[in-house]
């Protein structure tokens, strides 16, 4: 009832032409505004900013390596790639705002890729020749599959032992263009989110994305739910399969480069950080206050469980029963957190997750 009243009040203001303000007089709207503002200020903006800087480091490392393909230079590429992957794990579940403009999300990381599109498109691109003419701008017009991190992982991060210099030259031409493209996209995301007029911070009747603080807060809640689901449904389950003999370890994110565990740990930590930074689970009514500590505890446990897998490759994690068991625990913990977020935490924010509204069909 309260939510509908708030919305009605906001619409009334909209009709009268006044600004939709988070008035001190309405605590629900004020809290929604605070959650959105903190999510943007303390989580989203810093995350995009860090990602941007790390992509620049990666692009430099690739440039150096391609100019002088030595072992130390390659090590720098691998390290820089790892830092970019963990920075991206903090962002790849934010399916709104500048990330969905020009399909930036898919162009940074074409994933999941069950049909092997990255591999196929890269082969076609290299076979087509004229790679000297590729640059950051022209590769941006190619298939999303050749533009981003999964392509870089195959081109210059993981190299076969017997890499021949000519083959590497082709890889480098594509990789330098793709790395430049990722920097450009990361820069555009960083810049778009740094602006004062970012749509989610300016809800109102003229805003095509968010007409009210309720809708803006709902986006933050949805991001959290999407992030929790994505780790379970996209990063873990397809690789684990139903049983060890059904496992497909190469479906783990960044399995080739061995960054899977780092990615998973960063992705889970990201969920906890977003919840903390936004305060979405804070200030709940006393009867619901357990939700914050419960969510915090379960995410920390899940994070620790994943971090303890470090040093194992994807195949071992997916097939050895003891290691699989740890990830089974993680999926259960994530599902539990998701349920708490979708019910108790959502209600505390004056939101309800619709049966038909969350996921278009």
């Amino acid at each position: 009832m309260k939510v509908r009243f708030v919305l009605a009040a906001a619409l009334a203001l909209a009709v009268s032409g006044g600004p939709v303000v988070a008035g001190g007089e309405d605590p629900v709207t004020a809290r929604q505004q605070a959650v959105v503002a903190r999510a943007v200020e303390d989580y989203i903006r810093p995350a995009y900013h860090a990602f941007h800087h790390r992509t620049e480091t990666l692009a430099h490392a690739i440039e150096h390596f391609c100019a002088r393909p030595g072992r130390i230079e390659h090590r720098a590429v691998r390290d820089a790639f790892g830092t970019v992957v963990t920075a991206w794990a903090r962002l790849d579940f934010l399916r709104f705002g500048a990330a969905v403009t020009d399909a930036r999300l898919e162009r940074v990381a074409f994933w999941p890729d069950p049909r092997g599109v990255v591999e196929r498109q890269l082969r076609q691109l290299v076979a087509g020749g004229a790679l000297e003419r590729l640059d950051a701008a022209s590769i941006a017009r190619q298939s999303a599959a050749v533009q981003g991190l999964p392509a870089l992982e195959r081109l210059v991060v993981v190299l076969p032992a017997d890499t021949d210099p000519a083959g590497l030259a082709d890889n480098c031409l594509v990789a330098e263009a793709a790395a430049g493209n990722v920097v450009a996209i990361a820069g555009a995301l960083d810049e778009a989110w740094a602006r004062d007029d970012v749509p989610i911070l300016n809800p109102g009747p003229g805003n095509p994305a968010y007409r009210s603080w309720e809708e803006a807060a709902n986006e933050v809640l949805k991001a959290s739910l999407t992030g929790l689901e994505q780790i379970r449904d996209l990063a873990l389950r397809p690789a684990l399969g139903d049983a060890p003999d059904k496992a497909k370890p190469n479906r783990f994110p960044y399995a080739r480069s061995g960054e899977t565990v780092a990615y998973l740990a960063a992705a889970i930590e990201a969920q906890r950080d977003l919840i903390d930074a936004s305060g979405i689970a804070a200030d709940l009514p006393e009867a619901d206050a357990w939700a914050k500590s419960s969510v915090d505890f379960e995410l920390r446990q899940a994070e620790r469980t994943v971090a303890a897998l470090a040093g194992n490759d994807g195949a071992a994690i997916a097939t050895q029963p003891a290691l699989r068991g740890k990830l089974d625990y993680v999926t259960i913990a994530l599902a539990s957190v998701r349920t708490t977020m979708a019910t108790t935490v959502a209600a505390g924010l004056g939101l309800s997750v619709g049966f038909n509204a969350l996921d278009g069909d």
Partner: protein
């Protein structure tokens, strides 16, 4: 005394019945038959979340399809006389949640995803042979969602959403940077593509998902926008055979209220008024298909199901369990059931 006791049952038996997938309060999924007042007349459990029902021309039998990427469809007899049956999608295919009976009721057409090939197909099932799958038609597109017969009964109108998915990543879109949406008209005898239209290049992120056919035989498309949040993307389009796809510009306020997603469409018995549900925005619009004007707006939290009401207007359902009869810009009845109604409502 006696007549009072039996009257509701008699009414329930004679009035229009509707079918919808639902979720029960304990979390189980099911399919329910209901009347316009929202009273549940019959329920059946199903193994996982359902989506939309196909109703045979006699109105006596329905098939409820699993929500994508489900692989089951449940055959249900209205009177409960015939045993219920489960249809399974073949290896390499899953249901997309929608299907249609042929005009003579002998064949069932099901929208399916041939996921390894990355294309949409229509599975053809023979009712008299125990719903055996006897063939397959191409959809001439990817990510097929709703299918509907044109008034000629031999052209299948196909909403190709343009989004590739794979059941290993159940609901994740795999090609948002390179969508290929279209509306195809397919000959059901030959599978030939009679006509295909698509949104203009600037709107390739527009995914056609839901369909309705008006009295003039035009196909209306309800879409989902997968592009930039800020884009003023149209969510409604109409196609007459032989013509270009026409995008319908709803007033900004109505378009924004839909939040980039149309959950279902229904055409009223007058063949003219179109219900456009927006579960994300919590609103159902009624559009006059002769003028494109929005003639009614009914806020309905999580409202998605829509079907024609007997006597004009629409029956609307919501994830909160509401059942609303909406007629002439007013509520003609508001009922409630203790279930979450799923996306689509069909009249038997």
């Amino acid at each position: 005394m006696l007549s009072l006791a039996v009257a509701p049952l008699a009414c329930a038996g004679e009035g229009a019945q509707y079918a919808s997938a639902c979720r029960f309060p304990d979390g189980r999924f099911g399919v329910a038959l209901l009347d316009e007042a929202g009273a549940i007349l019959r329920t059946a459990d199903i193994p996982a979340r359902g989506h939309c029902a196909a109703v045979d021309p006699s109105g006596r039998r329905l098939v409820l399809f699993a929500r994508r990427p489900g692989t089951f469809a449940i055959v249900l007899d209205r009177a409960g006389a015939a045993p219920d049956r489960v249809i399974e999608a073949p290896e390499g295919r899953h249901f997309e949640g929608h299907g249609q009976f042929s005009r003579d009721g002998r064949l069932l057409y099901a929208a399916e995803n041939a996921y390894d090939e990355g294309v949409g197909v229509v599975g053809v099932y023979d009712v008299d042979k125990g719903f055996a799958r006897i063939g397959e038609l191409p959809c001439h597109g990817v990510g097929t969602h709703e299918i509907l017969f044109a008034p000629d009964g031999r052209t299948l109108i196909v909403a190709n959403g343009g989004i590739l998915t794979h059941p290993d990543y159940p609901r994740a879109p795999l090609n948002l940077a390179d969508m290929q949406p279209s509306l195809a008209r397919v000959d059901i005898e030959t599978g030939d593509l009679l006509e295909s239209v698509a949104p203009p290049a600037a709107l390739t992120s527009l995914s056609p998902r839901h369909l309705a056919v008006d009295a003039r035989g035009r196909a209306w498309l309800g879409c989902q926008w997968e592009g930039a949040d800020e884009a003023a993307a149209p969510l409604l389009a109409v196609h007459a055979p032989g013509a270009d796809l026409r995008l319908v510009a709803l007033p900004d306020e109505a378009r924004l209220a839909l939040r980039h997603y149309v959950g279902s469409l229904a055409i009223a018995d007058d063949g003219r008024h179109l219900a456009v549900s927006g579960p994300r925005g919590g609103i159902v619009l009624v559009v006059d298909t002769e003028t494109d004007a929005v003639v009614d707006r009914r806020p309905l939290h999580d409202g998605c199901g829509a079907a024609p009401a007997t006597g004009g207007g629409f029956v609307l359902t919501s994830g909160d369990g509401d059942v609303v009869v909406r007629r002439a810009e007013a509520d003609a009845g508001v009922g409630h059931a203790e279930v979450a109604w799923d996306n689509h409502l069909r009249r038997l």
